[in-house]
Every structure is written in structure tokens, then in C-alpha cells.
């Protein structure tokens, strides 16, 4: 699916982002915070924004792309309004997290790493959310759902629909 970045609609956010860039510009190692802020504001890294970072921080676009593709938190398609992270850490895995992930995929009709066409949900996977004593764990946005069972999935999703 093609996503078009709407410059007009994002005008306010872009302004905020530019202000942020000029604030951190002089710091050493400003690229990571810049990318993190962009991901936070726009929910993904649009080409237009990467070009802006390149101009402002004076770093070649190719290098920025190299860094951005290295880290799993950055995405090049918009993440959904609600981001589902099924923890696949060891503790969750031995307690059946894989089948929970599959249930979410089945319910939403998308695979891990994808976003629903209405931009409402996207599914990611987390390596370990650090809530191992309550495994298996699912995080939606910043809400944690502990001790999730397969049959709970539908109910959990209904809260966000």
C-alpha cells in the first residue's frame, strides 16, 4: 500500500519538529533523538521528514536511511492508531505467546509488521516487555495486558475498536 505524507495536514507537527531539530542540532549524536522524535510525531518516518533531517543536521540521506533501517522501532509505513505488541520474550514464548500473536493476526486480517487499511491497528512484536512474571503479556499503546489467553483477544480488541 502507498502512503502519501500530507504536508498541509501535518503543518503544525512539522513546525514542532523543526523547532526540536534546531534545539538539538548542536549536540553530539543528534541523529537518533531526531529519528525518535519523528517516529513519535508522525507515527512513521516519511521521506519528506528524512530529507528535512538530512538538511538540518547535515547528514547524507543515505546514512540516515542506513541508521533508520537498523533499528526495529523505526518504520517506513505509518503505524496504526493502536499499536499492538505481543511480547515474544522467553517467558511469554514458553507460555504460548506465539498462538496469541496468531490470534491477533487472524482477528485483524493482517500479519505482524503490517497496518490495517483503516490505519486503526498495527501489529508488532516485542522481544521482551519486561513483565515476565505476568506472561504472556500484550501491550497495546502503553496499556499492558497480563496473563492473556487466546480467547481474550477479541475482548481486548473490542476496547479499541
Amino acid at each position: 500500500m502507498e502512503y502519501k505524507f500530507d504536508l498541509e495536514k501535518n503543518e503544525v507537527l512539522l513546525k514542532e519538529f523543526k523547532a526540536f531539530l534546531s534545539e538539538i542540532k548542536k549536540n553530539n549524536g543528534a541523529l537518533m533523538p531526531a529519528l525518535q522524535k519523528a517516529q513519535e510525531l508522525f507515527n512513521y518516518l516519511p521521506k519528506e521528514v528524512l530529507k528535512l533531517i538530512s538538511d538540518e543536521l547535515n547528514i547524507p540521506l543515505a546514512e540516515i536511511y542506513g541508521v533508520a533501517t537498523f533499528y526495529s522501532q523505526f518504520s517506513f509505513i505509518p503505524k496504526g492508531e493502536n499499536q499492538i505488541n505481543v511480547c515474544l520474550g522467553t517467558a511469554c514464548y514458553v507460555k504460548g505467546a506465539q498462538s496469541i500473536l496468531e490470534e491477533f493476526e487472524k482477528e485483524l486480517g493482517i500479519k505482524q509488521g503490517e497496518t490495517t487499511s483503516d490505519l486503526k491497528f498495527s501489529i508488532g512484536q516485542a522481544r521482551c516487555l519486561g513483565d515476565c512474571s505476568k506472561a504472556p503479556v500484550v501491550m497495546i499503546n502503553s496499556d499492558i495486558f497480563p496473563l492473556v489467553k487466546k480467547k481474550d483477544v477479541k475482548k481486548i480488541l473490542d476496547n479499541y475498536r
Binding site: C132, S133, K150
Partner: protein
Amino acid sequence: MDRDRLLNIRNEKKPEIVEKLIRDDVVEIRAERVVLKGDYYKNQLRIALRNCDIINPFDIEEYIAFDGYFALYKALNDLSQREVVDIMKNSLLRGRGGAGFPTGKKWEEAFSFDADQKYIICNADEGDPGAFMDRSILEKDPHSVLEGMAIGGYAIGANKGFIYVRAEYPQAVKTLRHAIAQAKENGLLGEDIFGMGFNFDIELRLGSGAFVCGEGTALIESIEGHRGMPRPKLQRTAHVGLWGKPTIINNVETFANVAPIILNGAEWFRSIGTEKSPGTKVFSLVGKIENAGLVEVPMGTKLRDIVFDIGGGCQNNKEYKAVQTGGPSGGCIPKEYLDVSVDFESLDSIGSIMGSGGMVVMDENTCMIDIAKYFLEFSVDESCGKCIPCREGTRRMYEILELITEGKAEMNDLEELEKLSHVVSNTSLCGLGQTAPNPVVTTLKYYKDEYLAHIVDKKCPAKSCKALITYTISDRCIGCSICKKNCPVDAIDGELKKKYSIDNEKCIKCGSCYEVCPVKPVKAVEIY
């Protein structure tokens, strides 16, 4: 802030807090220490976790009430930089991030190396799946880390610190931001701390989801704004680190141990734990265990005591099969070694590692090949791709494990797997690659019969590998039709009140029928 104010806050606040906690039945006084109440905590000795669940992490005064920032005062007022380094050296504290390098030695290297700028980094990129001790410390006692870092900064002559926190810990980031601001307001971080001319500032840097950034040099690359790829170790980071300057990187739990050591002395610390691994270690005891949670015990405690006395053994009375320690770099410890003493040397000697302290308990239903495959998949995913043995080798190993779990492997695949393990661990650049084969090596060593069952008999003894199991319905079936209703592929047929049957051609082995079968005490759906 000065000593009198520290004392005032402590004298005023502590009785208040303790009284309230005792009233709420949260804590008790044991050997003059305020400790959490309950059986789970009875056999624990909490140093790094000393304040967790006791103080309010958003109130710096509560931290001060429990001796907080007294160690920093002592270091700045009573001790020279050299003396702080010596105390740390004598304490024999070893890095709690996993490798166990002596902290004092690291500090000495940076202390004695001349440079115009030095850095302290706190590695809070806790990536091992199944480990969450660092997150707990950051969220429940952030000042203990800040104080440890400031003492480290004074000791080596650094005035700038970074905390590199993984992006998956938003709450920890929030707590740290708040704690740093509070410490600055109170003159415990920033310019001229305690009015003694020492400046130390801490900046937060966030990870972005790359496991390899827990490796020191990769972490430095990431802070500098690059791909997080490890550097060849031509120089120590204590000499040439962040932006080419001497840099000390210590783990969260290591920093949390610093203040108590400065306050109570090296001898006190060495009196706890074993001779070569003094002090305590925090473990996150998780998986198929009755009482999951954080456990802090003296080094040298027997694994059995942790899993059974504190953890209460496996859930649902299942049989213990293994404990996995050290995450993707570690190994599985079988029943025979339950009496192993948990310290750096002993775990090394049986092929596992201490690692950052994750302990994932597995029971009879866990397939060890599936676990090895799980960790290999992790390493394949997280390999940064810089060196070939790790990038390609782990992938080939993963493919072989996949064949085994699908029942398609031959005996020579096993030989190939062993050979590859050797090559990958001997020729990879950084710790990730060097230790990635460990889960395979230890499972091959202790659970070879399971590998053979998969390869020769095409059976999965734990009944977990989908390709090697079949579902059937036994005569115990009461004909309730629940399984038929729940089958997603209509593989179950039968009439009400009569025995149902599963069409194995159609069955996708999702396990739904087994889960919903109401027959007790033994389900009518059976797995072979």
C-alpha cells in the same frame, strides 16, 4: 544540599515512612533493616533492590531517608578519587550485565588514563528476553543508579554521564527524567555538587529496538548516532570510548551496588557471596514457575534453593525440566545440576552463563529443540550483520533446527550443527555471535536424546513440535461436540452423545480441541 540537610531529611522522614509501611503490613524489621514482608522475601538479601517497593521513586526525600546520597557525600568529602577506585577494586564487585568484569579494575583504567573529557555510561539496554531486574530498579529506585553514576564520575574524573535506556521501557524513561530533574533541583547533580566543586550531569539517550546495542561498543555507536554495530576491540573503551574519550560502561544493577559499597566498605561486601563472586545477584525467576518475580540472593546460592524454596517449583505440579539462564547467550541447566552454586565460575563450568540474571523455568511440556530454535531465531534477527560467522552461521544453524523440529533432519545434520556452533562461537566479532550457539551447545549436551527422538523416531517427547504430533479422540469422549464447534478447519466429525473423531488430513494441529475438551480428570483429546 549539604550534610546537615541530608541528616535532617533522613531523621524526619524515615520513621514516618517505616511506620506507615508497617501499618500497611508491607515491611518488617529484620536485623535492623527494613525489608519486605512475606515468605517470598524471607530467604532473600536485597542490596541492589534495597529500596524497591519500599520507597516512592518519585520522591527524592524518601530515597535520602534510606541513606540515599550519603555515599556520594562521603566520596566527595572524605575520599580521594584514588580511594574510591580502591574501595571498588577491593570490593571485587563484578559487572552485573553478564560478563562479570571487575568494576573497580574498569574504573582504575579510566581513572589513570589522562584525557580532557571522560564519560560514564549506564547500560540500561536490558535486552535479554526474560530479564527485567534493570527495569525494576530504574522504575522503583532510580536515584540509586544516579548516585552510583555520580560516584563513578567522581572516581574517574568524568563530568558527564549518559543512561542508554531501551525504547521498550517508557515507564523507566519517565521515572528517570523525573529523578534527574529532582536531583538537579536539590544540587545532587549538575554544577558544584554539595558545594565541593564537583560537576556531574546525566543525559538520557533512548535505544530504538536493537538487542546488539547492549554490547558496549555498539551502544557507543548508537549514542553517536550510527548503526549499532560493535567495534573491533583494538582499544579498551576505558581508553578510547564515546567520541574517542575514556568511557566507563556499567550496567544498572552494578551502579545500584555502588552506594552501599562506599557506605559499608569493601570488606562488608566481600563477606557476602563467594570468594570470587562477592555480593548478591538479582534474578528474574519466570516461565513455568509457581512464584514468578525478582529474587536477590547472595552469590553461591544453590539453584535448587532459588527454584524450589523461593520460586515454589513448577506450576501445576509439572516436572522440572530445565532452567535457562543468560538469555540468548546462555544455556539450559538440567535436573542433574540443580545443586550447582549460582556464581560466575560455576555456571560457566556447566556451559551456561550468569548473564544479566534471567532464569526461565521450563517443565516437561517444553521442547528443548524448540527452545534452542527460539533463541537462534532471536540471534538471527538481532545479528547486526557486520561479521559473516554470526550473520550467516546463525541462520544456517536455525535452518537445521527447523528441519529437526519438522522431522525432516538426518543424523549428519546434527554433525553439521555441532561444527557450525564451533565456528560461529570461535570466529564472531562480538559477544552476541560468540555466545549465540550456547543454547544449542547446552541442549545438545544435556538433551541429546530429545534431538535423537526428533531425528530418528520423528517424535517430539514434549509433544510440542506441531509437525511431529497427532491429535486423536479417545473412548473417554462424551460426545459434547464442543471440540467440533471450536475446530477452525472442520476437521472434527461425529454425532452428539457419540464419540467424535479427527480427520488428520484436515487437522492443522492448532490445539483448540485439546484446550476446550471438558472431560475430567483426563481430557478425551489426546496428543501423540
